[in-house]
Amino acid sequence: MLASWRRLSPMARREALEAYLALSPWLLGFTLFTVMPIAVSIFLSFTQWTIIEQPIWIGADNYVRMFTRDPLFWQALKVTGSFVLISLPLKLVLGLALALLLNNRLPGMNFFRTVFYIPAVISGVAVSLMWMWLLQPDTGVVNTLLDAVGVKGPNWFWDKDWALPSVALMSIWKVGGSAIIYLAGLQNIPAQLYEAAEIDGAGKWGRFWRITIPLLTPTIFFQLIIEMIDSFKVFTEAFVITQGGPLKSTYFYMLYFYEEAFRNFNMGYASALALFLTLIILATTIFINYTSKRWVYYESE
């Protein structure tokens, strides 16, 4: 590094120094608030720490416990994995469907775009409370409407079989946020491609599959990564509404992490849980990124 520094001209060295100087606030912030907490968290995951007293080094015991002696860890992992598998495809598909609707050139479309985006900016706690009311079994709007058409609605959050789908339903309601990103992607697709395809006799379906989807794959790729991370981190809904119940059917990984860290004062174990989740997300991201070479098409390619 020193040799390459020496090879630089005085002007290039000055430019490099100025660049680092300009970057230094970010670098400092990144080191202090991202790198150091991660490093400390890695260290803590090998300790037993009640926060109040000094950490005690216990080697890999937290990880051994996690994989061999902790049924709650597996339950939290199972629930979170199920939630990702249920909600992620639905959010991707429904977000795209909504974006296609919002992409129509109709009067007042900006109003609808705004309305659909609103759920994405409302506080998670407020949304949770609202859904608690909507899905209340006796007096909630949803079951009242179902009742009106002769269908007996389920107990939603208060039924062990329906609680997880209910949380997934809540998360799907917020697809307006991803629809706006899809919309930006849709509007970047050159109109002449559709015109050319139409001249060649392609129907709507054909244009969708052969032009829209391929040219939208970079946006889908981005959404897949972001929504996947978001799904793994689900917490507020369970914390506010179900507290992980009934019968641990919504005992999400982040809720377990929170309880270990801040209710049981088991910060060492919580750090190990957090690191394991980071590894899962990292591995999934790398896998998606790896497969993207086969299905993501950029306009320049």
Binding site: Q48, M132, G140, W158
Partner: protein, 430 residues
């Protein structure tokens, strides 16, 4: 002449220079105590500031600097600050037992204080909230407890006698059944919201052995099975709201009080804060302790908040001075008269403006019972093991298991509970 005036100028200059040092010396005589607190229904920010003003006026050498924090984030902030080892307040609520290692041992202070006598506090609250590992780590501020509130108008309408303080768990189901009226969408009573609170303890059930080594024979004991069976019978009687009915009406445990005030719940297990709400709403109500099991010792789910001095304080004497004022007779009297606090000192509590009312007398009687918290506080792993007990409670509460399956269900939970206990004891001690 010139020399003389120059000399005078130098003396004046020197005196001027000394003024700031003098000021510093004076300032050092006044010690500032940082106090973190929360605002609540029992003591609003305004009332607490008035108490501080009164203290500051009476103690010119101590200035208390009050910081009122939102209750929701108080625990996290205190935990982080105490964990950091610096920047914690001199005096604060130490309401989490895990913070006690960082509380100043007040034993010597209290022994030397002629104005503060531990025996003047409710014994149960002193034992559960002040004494920890043979040290006095704080003073108990205020008292609270669960009890059953009943709507007298509903009882009168149905021609049912009011429950007596010595009623039993079987009486509870029978009374709730009589009071239930589906046409009026009214339930007779509610369900206990968690295992191993007063009723479970009244049955004689414990989650594990007193020496924190064994779950087998405790979580699945005959007493525990009897407690869960009683819950099963209560659920099956269809005279109580479902968990959904309760939860939907509030996330802060307000569901039962809302139903109770609306006349849809004839009996509900509530607390002294709800009593104030019921009084304001003009509901005609009475109070009885949670039902008992004949022949067994009777418990109450009661609580108080520990107020402590941080062990890292630079001004322990002044911090104790403020703490003993705030949580002593004077402070609690002030918070009772100007707010809604129920003091933890019986002599002060007896001067409560409503002390002559029946429901307040009934509340006082509950405060004299043994407390669930005695065992819970002495067993730091209680919460970890209760996760398993909650599973069984959920299964019963949701109608997922039959009455005859209770024993087998509890048996199946022994192993995970034992694992949780072993892990926790290694970490937090027995």
């Amino acid at each position: 002449m010139w020399y003389r005036s120059r000399k005078i100028s130098l003396v004046l200059f020197a005196l001027l220079m000394l003024i700031p040092f003098g000021a510093v010396t004076l300032a050092q005589d006044v010690v500032t105590i940082e106090w973190w607190t929360v605002s609540s229904e029992e003591y609003s920010e305004e009332v607490q500031r008035a108490l501080v003003d009164q203290f500051n006026a009476e103690h010119p050498n101590i200035q208390v600097n009050i910081t009122v924090l939102p209750e929701s984030g108080f625990t996290e902030r205190m935990t982080a600050t105490l964990g950091a080892g610096s920047g914690a307040p001199d005096v604060a609520f130490f309401w989490d037992n895990n913070w006690f290692p960082q509380a100043l041992d007040l034993t010597a202070y209290i022994e030397a204080d002629p104005d503060l006598d531990p025996s003047t506090y409710f014994e149960g609250f002193w034992n559960t909230r002040s004494v920890w590992q043979d040290k006095i780590v704080g003073l108990p501020l205020g008292v609270g407890a669960n009890f059953v509130m009943y709507n007298k108008d509903v009882f009168d309408e149905m021609g049912v006698a009011y429950p007596s303080p010595d009623w039993t768990t079987e009486d509870y189901i029978a009374t709730a059944t009589t009071l239930t009226d589906p046409d009026k969408r009214r339930w007779g009573g509610d369900r206990p919201r968690g295992p191993f609170r007063a009723i479970w303890r009244n049955y004689g059930a414990f989650p594990y052995s007193d020496d924190s080594t064994t779950v087998e024979g405790y979580l699945n004991s005959d007493a525990s099975v009897a407690a869960y069976t009683w819950l099963w019978d209560l659920v099956a009687s269809n005279v109580t709201p479902t968990p959904a009915d309760i939860e939907i009406l509030g996330t802060e445990g307000t569901g039962p009080i809302d139903l109770f005030l609306a006349g849809r719940l004839a009996m509900a297990t509530l607390n002294q804060g709800h009593v104030l709400t019921a009084v304001e709403s003009g509901v005609n109500f009475g109070i009885v302790p949670e039902p008992q099991i004949p022949g067994n010792e009777r418990y109450a789910n009661a609580w108080s908040l520990t107020a402590s001095v941080w062990a890292g304080t630079e001004h322990p004497d002044e911090a104790y001075e403020w703490l003993s004022y705030w949580v002593g007779p004077e402070g609690q009297q002030f918070l009772m008269q100007n707010g809604h606090l129920f003091p933890s000192i019986p002599a002060v509590l007896e001067t409560h403006p409503d002390a002559d009312k029946d429901y307040v007398q009934a509340f006082f009687a509950v405060l004299e019972q043994r407390q669930v918290a005695e065992w819970v506080n002495a067993h730091p792993c209680n919460g970890t093991v209760l996760r398993a007990a909650v599973d069984a409670w959920d299964l019963v509460n949701l109608g997922e298991i039959g009455r005859d399956d209770i024993k087998a269900t509890l048996d199946s939970l022994v192993e995970p509970a034992q694992q949780a206990l072993d892990e926790c004891v290694a970490r937090l001690g027995a």
